[in-house]
Assembly symmetry: C3
Homo-oligomer: 351 residues x 3
C-alpha cells in the first residue's frame, strides 16, 4: 500500500520526467511520460509507485518487488525485476526523498486564522500564515510569511520567526529568535529557564537569572518533546540546518554549528560548543563547557567528558576513540568469560 490518503496528501500522478529531473536522475529512454502516483516500500509498492533500495541487505526484497520503478545505485541494478524501471542514482535515498516530496508534498499553510487564536497587541503575522485553534501568540511576536502555527501552540512575547516555519501543536517558545523554515515538532520547549543556581552555605539553591535567548538558524528542526533552554547570559545557538530528534536536550549557552544531528534522548550540558556537522547518536550525553570539533561523531549512549577533536569518532562512557572502545568492549567481554572472572563473580555473590 502506498501512503494512506487519510493522512497524507498526494499531488500525483506525475510524469517520470518531472520526478527524475527533481532527483537529478536520467530517465531511461522513452519512459519520461510514464506517470507515478505515489511512493512505497519495495514490499508494498505497486506498478504506480516508486520505491528505493538503500542497502544490499534488501536485495531479496528488490527481486520480488512489484514497484513500477526503483531508485538504486548502479551496482544493484542487476537485481531489478522485469517490468520495474531501474532509476540509477549515486545517492538513492536523497533522490527518492526529492521524488517523494513532489508526490506527497508537506502541508502548506492555508492562510486561515482560527477565530479562537489569541494574538497579542502588536504581533505581526506574515502573509499566508495558518494559525490553529487555541494558539496563543503574545504581544510583539513576529511571524514571517506562510508559517503554520498548530493548535495550542504558545509563542511568547516578542519572539521572532522567519518565513515558512512550522510550529506544531502544544509547542512552547519563549525568548527566541528563529530563521526561515524552522520546524518545531509537537510539545518541544524552546527558551525555558536554564538550570542555573548558586547554593548558599545553608544549602539553599538561589536561581541565577537566565538572561539570554535561543537563536535558531534557518532550517533548524526540533523533535517532539525536546527541550532547548535559553542562555544564561550568552545565547543558546542552534546552527542552520541542525536537527534535534525527540526528547533531546540542550542546556543553556550550548552552541551548535551548521548541520549537526542530535538523535533522540541525547543531551548536552551547559556551554558546550559543537562545530559543524557533528553527529550525536541516541541517548548520548556531553558534559558542560566542552568543545566538539567539526564532523566529530558521538556513539549511542556515549558519555563525553572531554573535548573531541574534529573528525574523531568516540564511544563509551566515559567516551574514548571508537577503535579503542571496541577493543575495550571485546577485552571486557573476554574477561567476563574467563575463569578468573567467574571466581570474582562467585566471591562477590558470597559476600
Amino acid at each position: 500500500m502506498a501512503a494512506d490518503p487519510r493522512f497524507h496528501a498526494t499531488a500525483g500522478p506525475l510524469p517520470l520526467a518531472q520526478l527524475a529531473q527533481a532527483a537529478g536522475i536520467e530517465v531511461p529512454e522513452g519512459l519520461g511520460d510514464r506517470r507515478f502516483s505515489g511512493v512505497a516500500t519495495l514490499h508494498a509498492a505497486g506498478p504506480d509507485d516508486i520505491s528505493f533500495l538503500d542497502a544490499r541487505r534488501w536485495l531479496p526484497g528488490l527481486r520480488e518487488t512489484r514497484a513500477g520503478a526503483v531508485v538504486l545505485a548502479a551496482e544493484n541494478a542487476h537485481a531489478v525485476p522485469q517490468g520495474t524501471i531501474a532509476l540509477i542514482s549515486p545517492a538513492p535515498v536523497l533522490a527518492f526523498a526529492r521524488m517523494a516530496t513532489l508526490l506527497h508534498p508537506p502541508e502548506a499553510a492555508n492562510g486561515a486564522r482560527h477565530p479562537t487564536a489569541v494574538v497579542g497587541e502588536g504581533a505581526q503575522i506574515g502573509e499566508g500564515c495558518e494559525i490553529g485553534p487555541y494558539a496563543v501568540i503574545e504581544a510583539g511576536a513576529v511571524l514571517g510569511a506562510r508559517c503554520i502555527v498548530g493548535p495550542h501552540a504558545h509563542i511568547g512575547r516578542n519572539c521572532v520567526f522567519g518565513a515558512e516555519c512550522r510550529i506544531f501543536s502544544h509547542v512552547t517558545v519563549t525568548h527566541c529568535i528563529a530563521g526561515d523554515r524552522v520546524t518545531l515538532n509537537p510539545g518541544c520547549r524552546i527558551g525555558s529557564e536554564g538550570f542555573g543556581f548558586a547554593t548558599t552555605s545553608r544549602g539553599e539553591h538561589v536561581t541565577v537569572p537566565q538572561l539570554g535567548r535561543v537563536i535558531l538558524g534557518d532550517g533548524v528542526e526540533v523533535g517532539a518533546n525536546a527541550c532547548i533552554d535559553r542562555g544564561s547570559g550568552n545565547d543558546t545557538v542552534v546552527g542552520p540546518g541542525t536537527r534535534l530528534d525527540n526528547l533531546a536536550m540542550l542546556g543553556h549557552n550550548v552552541q551548535t554549528g551548521r548541520g549537526c544531528i542530535i538523535v533522540a534522548q541525547a543531551g548536552i550540558a551547559g556551554s558546550t560548543t559543537l562545530g559543524n556537522y557533528v553527529v550525536m547518536a541516541a541517548q548520548a550525553g556531553m558534559s558542560g563547557h566542552l568543545k566538539i570539533g567539526d564532523g566529530a561523531r558521538i556513539g549511542a549512549q556515549a558519555g563525553v567528558m572531554a573535548d573531541v577533536p574534529p573528525g574523531m569518532d568516540v564511544l563509551g562512557s566515559p567516551a574514548i576513540p571508537v577503535r579503542e572502545a571496541m577493543r575495550s568492549f571485546a577485552a571486557i567481554r573476554k574477561l567476563g568469560q574467563s575463569k578468573a572472572a567467574n571466581r570474582a563473580a562467585e566471591e562477590k555473590t558470597s559476600d
Copy 2:
C-alpha cells in the same frame, strides 16, 4: 490513610464476598458480609481497608499492620496479626489490583462535551464520550463509545480510536489508528514526523517524507511525554496490551508484539521489531533494524546493538547476556581495585 477522597473516587464500602470473587480468592467462612471501604499500604491501612504483601521483606510491616484484611501468599499467612483477615492468593498483587479497582474505580466518561471543544467537520464522537475544555478534534476523526478526551488534547485529522480510550490532557495524536481501551497519558506525542533525512554532498539534510502511520493495538498504554513517531513508509505498530512508561521513545517503523513493557526513558531506533512480552527496563536503548525475540528482557541502561534471541536476558552497553555481563562487571571492579589499576590511574592523572 487510605486514598485521598479529593483525588480518588470510592465505590465502597463493598462486602468482602464481592471483592474476593473479583479477585478469585476464597473468603474465610462467615466473613463474606464484612464490608471494606478502601485499600491502603500495610502501614497506613485501618480496619476498613484491605492491604497486600508482595515480598517477604515487608513481613515486619505485616506483623504490625492494622489492616482489616491482607492479600498474600499462603507461605506468609503465619505473620498476619490477630484481628486481620488473611486472604490467600498465589498472585497477591494481581488479586489486590482487582479488589482495588472495584473499590476505587477509574473515572468513567461523563458523556459531556465542553462547549469550548472544537470538533471538526465529519468527526464522529461515539456515545457517552467526555470531551474536555479546549480539546481539538479535527475533521474526520472517529472516537468509539465512552472515550475520555482531556483538556487541550489534540486529535488530528482522520485519526481513529476504538471504545473506552483515555486521551489525557495535552496529548497530540496524528496519523494514528488505535484500538479499544487505549490510554495516552498527558503530553505524549503519537504520530510525529520521524527522524528521516538524506544528506547532500554539501551537507544539507533533506527530509525524507514520513508517509506511514501509527497503529496502536487494544489496551495499549503510553506514558506521559512519551513519543511514538509515525512510520516512514511502513507503519509504526504497538501490539495489544503493550505499555510504554513516561518519556519513552519509539522511532519510525518500530513494531512491538503483544504485551511488551517499555520502561521510562527507554528508546528504540527505527525499524526494530520486538516479539511478544519483551521487557525493556528504564533508560535502555536499541539500535535500528534489530529483531528482539519473544520474552527477551533488556536490563536498565543496556545498549542493544544486535539481535536478541527469544527468552534471552541481556545487560550492559553494548548489551551481552546477563550472566556474562555480571561477570564482566565483577571483573572490571576487581581490576579497579588492583595495584595495576591504581598505577594506571596515577599515570593517567599525571599526564
Copy 3:
C-alpha cells in the same frame, strides 16, 4: 550586550550600594552611588554592567573586560583591569545572582485573569494571581496569592498550591498538593498514573490503581517536560528546595529530601528514597526501593542499583564508588590498548 529588553525586564539603573547590600558585599569607598543598569558576561559587559568571574580559567576574559564592575573572589582581584570595580565575595556566583535578580527581577503576577480561562466550581484563586489564556483550573483547586498560571496550563480537580507559584504553559498537574514558590516549567507532568500493573498467567497486564498523590515542598522547581508520577498508595514526595531539570523522571512513591538536585534526563524508579542534598547528574538512573543517603552524589549516566551511604560519590553503570570507578575506567582503557585486546578484537571481527 546585556539582557535583550524584548525578553527580560529591567529594574535598573540601581545604585551599587543597594546591589552590594543585597549580595552581602562591601562597596569600595565612595562608589556606593555609582549606578548599574544590567548584568552581562565578561566579554559582553559594558561600563553600566556588572559581571562575574567564577573560575580561574576565565582570567584572560577578565583582563579584557569592559564591565563597570566584576564580582569575584579576593584571590583573583589582581587581574581586574583599570576602570573596572572589583567586588569581592567568597561566593561570587551567589552574590552575582542576588544582584542580577534585583536588576532583572523575574516577572511578577499581574493580577489579571484572561477571559478565556476556565475556572471550575469552587476553585479558589488567591489574591493577585495571573491566569493566562486557555488555562483550565478544575473544580475545587486552590491557588495561593500571586501565582502565575501560564497559557494552556491544566490544574486538576482539588489540587492545592501555596503562594507565588509559577505554573508555566502546557503544564499538567493532577493529584497534587504543593507549597509556596513552586515552579513548574513548561510541559512538565505532575501526578500522572504511575507504571503499576500485575500480569496474569496469560500475559495480560492489569493496572494496579494508583491511589496516592504528589507532595511538592516549598520552593520545588521542576524542569520542562519532566514527569513526576503520583504515588501508588503512599505519596510521591519532593522535599523543599529540591530542583529537577528538564526531562527528568520520578516514579511512583519516590521521596526526596530537602535541596536535592536532579539533572536533566535523570530518572528514579518507584519507591526509592533520597536524603537531603543528594545530587544526581544528567542521564543517571536509580533502581526502585533504594535508600540514598544525605549528600550522596551520583555521576552522569551512572546506574545506581544498590543503596548509597550518606556523603558517598558513585559513578558507572552499575554505579560504584567514584574513585574505584575512575580506576576501573583507566584499567579498561589500558586493556583496550594492549596487544591482547587487539587480538581479542581481531578474533571477534573474524567471527
